[in-house]
């Protein structure tokens, strides 16, 4: 896939970092403000997609990126599942148990396990959207070959 002009590339470089940080903010503050893992993850994926669209990428590199993002996706789901299963194993025998201390409402570190779920869901959604995007781009590359 070919990249775009220098102006677009520079703007994408400037913007994507901000978008990434904003996505991370939305995901980590999911228990305090509107949004959460899904919305934050979509923004994070947007940052990466913007960079790929602006700068372009070779077929081989796209393939490798797809493998990486699908691995990250599986790992993030596994981590979220593990967090839920720890609740099952940690004495109370309850799946999805909130076993961490609740903290003070309104602080960033509060709400027990919920922020951790949000973080992993954010990673999972970002990786999943990235994988879908890459799969479509790779398909187009294969067709135009």
């Amino acid at each position: 896939m070919k990249g775009m002009s220098l102006i677009v590339k520079k703007m994408a470089q400037l913007m994507s970092g901000l978008i990434f940080v904003y996505g991370a903010y939305i995901a980590t503050h999911g228990h305090l403000t509107p949004g959460g893992g899904f919305a934050g993850g979509a923004l994070i994926a947007g940052a990466f997609i913007l960079m790929i669209l602006a700068n372009g990428s070779g077929y081989v590199r796209l393939k490798r990126q797809e493998e990486g993002s699908s691995a990250v996706e599986s790992a993030a789901v596994l981590m979220a599942l593990l967090l839920a299963t720890i609740g099952l194993a940690a004495g109370t025998m309850v799946f999805f148990n909130n076993y961490l201390p609740p903290g003070i409402p309104g602080r960033l570190i509060s709400g027990g396990v919920i922020p951790l779920y949000n973080v992993f869901i954010g990673i999972e959604v970002a990786a999943a959207l990235m994988t879908i995007f890459l799969a479509l781009v790779i398909y187009k590359e294969e067709i135009s070959k």
């Binding site: 493998e67 596994l78 099952l88 309850v94």
Partner: protein, 510 residues
């Protein structure tokens, strides 16, 4: 028994599904061993639970206890009917996955295949365990979306077309189901099935609820491929890889279609005579039209797919007759007989139709064709496939001493005792046409003299093991006719349906 065992039916396959893409690419063969072993574990667990006795166990995810008698947690409910379905799902799941060890080697990206199978099993286990309408919908979508991908797994033209058709109709069904659930939520302000059942206790002859029930019949009827809604099934079930066809025909249409319908109609809504008649009529139509469409087919897997519609017709007819009798306030023992026959036929159909699809896969594996006109003379070359497919063919046509005979007999006896003479005649006719079409399969596949001598050889050990085990089960399940064995396995499941209001009492511990 520890209630948290229930959740493992969902967690274990989910863990496996997401471990496979990570570890499977590093360690060769990991995906095959892991999937087979977890399916075996779940099978043993579900049989163990069934043998524990007829108790209802509820599990509240997150540990949210009811507030003032109103359930707020997501409920998972394991009662005898769920246990019965769990056994079917995990039995067929294990057999298909073990068969796939050899069968799937000719396909690429095995990791994806096993990931999707694990997700599908997790979804189906979730559907039969869920005690909450919205979670039922979520699990249903997990299992059917993985099945869309599995149908298209061969990525040829026909597979993609079948999968697309399946997706369009499946999405329509999901939309209707979600709409129905939303209407119920609007009316009752709760999603818990037991709670809704308590709230709807006095709502007889309510047109709003009749509308919702009709929408749900359409939605789940499409998922179960009952006759006016069956268009997707012959394409989808014949295009999927054979172990998946066995899973789709053997369990998916039961778990996400018929099971949900009977659970909601018996245990959530009040039984209504006119809706029960609609339900039975759909079943009878499926039974007779399915088999008429099947007999003309020359594609082996398509023929089997049409027979799935017809055999599910038997199940629905049996259960529907019980529903009519209960709604009219008729004889409970005849209703129990009819429902028992329906559920008995459900497990029988899972076993013999699963086996027939595995046989079709074996023939395709060895002879390289699904067209019955091009087969022939395989009897000498594939003795295991021949004998196992013979027992499955006899079972599906209702020949004694195979299991299909006894369940069809019970359904017909119940129809006569309940004075549904037309249904009894239709069931007998459908049985005879089924026998004819399986005679055709046996003759053309195994005995016909082909133009040139086939070079086919018997399939590998893993495939033979699954086929032989299922063939033995075709015989062993006949034992369910003996009252002492029926009491352990079948009767508790029937009782959950007969005692319609008991479900809510047991789940909410009123």
């Amino acid at each position: 028994m520890e209630p948290s065992v229930i959740i493992s039916f969902v967690i274990i396959p989910l863990f496996a599904a997401f471990l496979i893409p990570l570890v499977g690419r590093l360690v060769g063969g990991f995906q095959r061993i892991l999937t087979s072993s977890i399916m075996l574990l779940l099978l043993v667990l579900s049989v163990f639970i069934t043998l524990q006795g007829p108790e209802t166990i509820t599990y509240m995810a997150g540990g949210w206890e009811p507030v003032g008698g109103v359930p707020i947690a997501i409920y998972l409910v394991l009662d005898p009917l769920s246990g019965f379905l769990l056994t079917i799902i995990n039995l067929l799941g294990f057999m298909s996955v073990f068969y796939a060890i050899s069968y799937m080697r000719r396909y690429t990206s095995e990791n994806l295949f096993y990931t999707l199978v694990c997700l599908m099993v997790a979804g189906m286990n979730g559907v039969v365990l869920s005690g909450d309408l919205f979670n039922l919908y979520v699990f249903l979508e997990i299992s059917v979306i993985s099945s869309y991908a599995l149908v298209a797994f061969g990525v040829g033209k026909t597979e993609l077309e079948a999968s697309y058709k399946y997706q369009v109709l499946g999405a329509l069904a999901s939309l209707l189901v979600l709409f129905g659930i939303a209407m119920i939520y609007w009316r009752t302000k709760t999603l818990n099935i037991a709670d809704i059942s308590v709230l709807l206790q006095h709502a007889r002859h309510d047109t709003f609820l009749v509308f919702v029930q009709l929408i749900l019949i359409t939605g789940f009827g499409i998922k179960a491929a009952l006759i006016p809604f069956h268009a997707w099934l012959p394409d989808a079930h014949s295009s999927a890889p054979s172990p998946i066809s066995a899973m789709l025909s053997g369990v998916l249409i039961k778990a996400v279609g018929v099971y949900v319908l009977i659970r909601l109609f018996f245990n959530m809504f009040q039984l209504d005579t006119s809706l029960a008649i609609v339900f039975t009529a759909i079943g009878a139509l499926s039974m007779i039209i399915g088999v008429v469409l099947a007999i003309g087919q020359w594609d082996l897997k398509r023929l089997l797919a049409y027979h799935s519609i017809s055999q599910m017709g038997y199940v629905v007819t049996g259960i529907g007759m019980g529903m009519i009798l209960l709604a009219r306030g008729g004889d409970k023992s005849i209703a129990a007989l009819a429902i028992g026959g329906g559920l008995f036929h459900m497990i029988n159909h899972a076993v013999f139709k699963g086996l027939l699809f595995l046989n079709a896969g074996a023939i395709e594996y060895a002879a390289g064709t699904r067209d019955m006109k091009k087969m022939g003379g395989l009897a000498r070359h594939m003795p295991v496939t021949l004998s196992s497919s013979f027992s499955a063919s006899m079972a599906i046509s209702g020949m004694p001493p195979f299991n299909g005979f006894f369940s069809k007999l019970i359904i017909i006896v119940a129809a006569i005792q309940g004075e549904f003479y037309l249904l009894a005649v239709l069931a007998v006719i459908a049985g005879i046409v089924t026998l004819a079409s399986f005679m055709k399969f046996q003759r053309f596949a195994f005995y016909n003299k082909p133009e040139k001598e086939p070079t086919a050889r018997e399939v590998p050990l893993a495939m033979r093991f699954s086929m032989v085990t299922l063939a033995l089960l075709c015989l062993l399940l006949s034992l369910l006719i003996i009252p002492d064995i029926r009491q352990i396995f079948l009767e508790p499941a029937v009782n959950t349906l007969i005692e319609t209001t008991e479900y809510a009492t047991k789940v909410l511990k009123l």
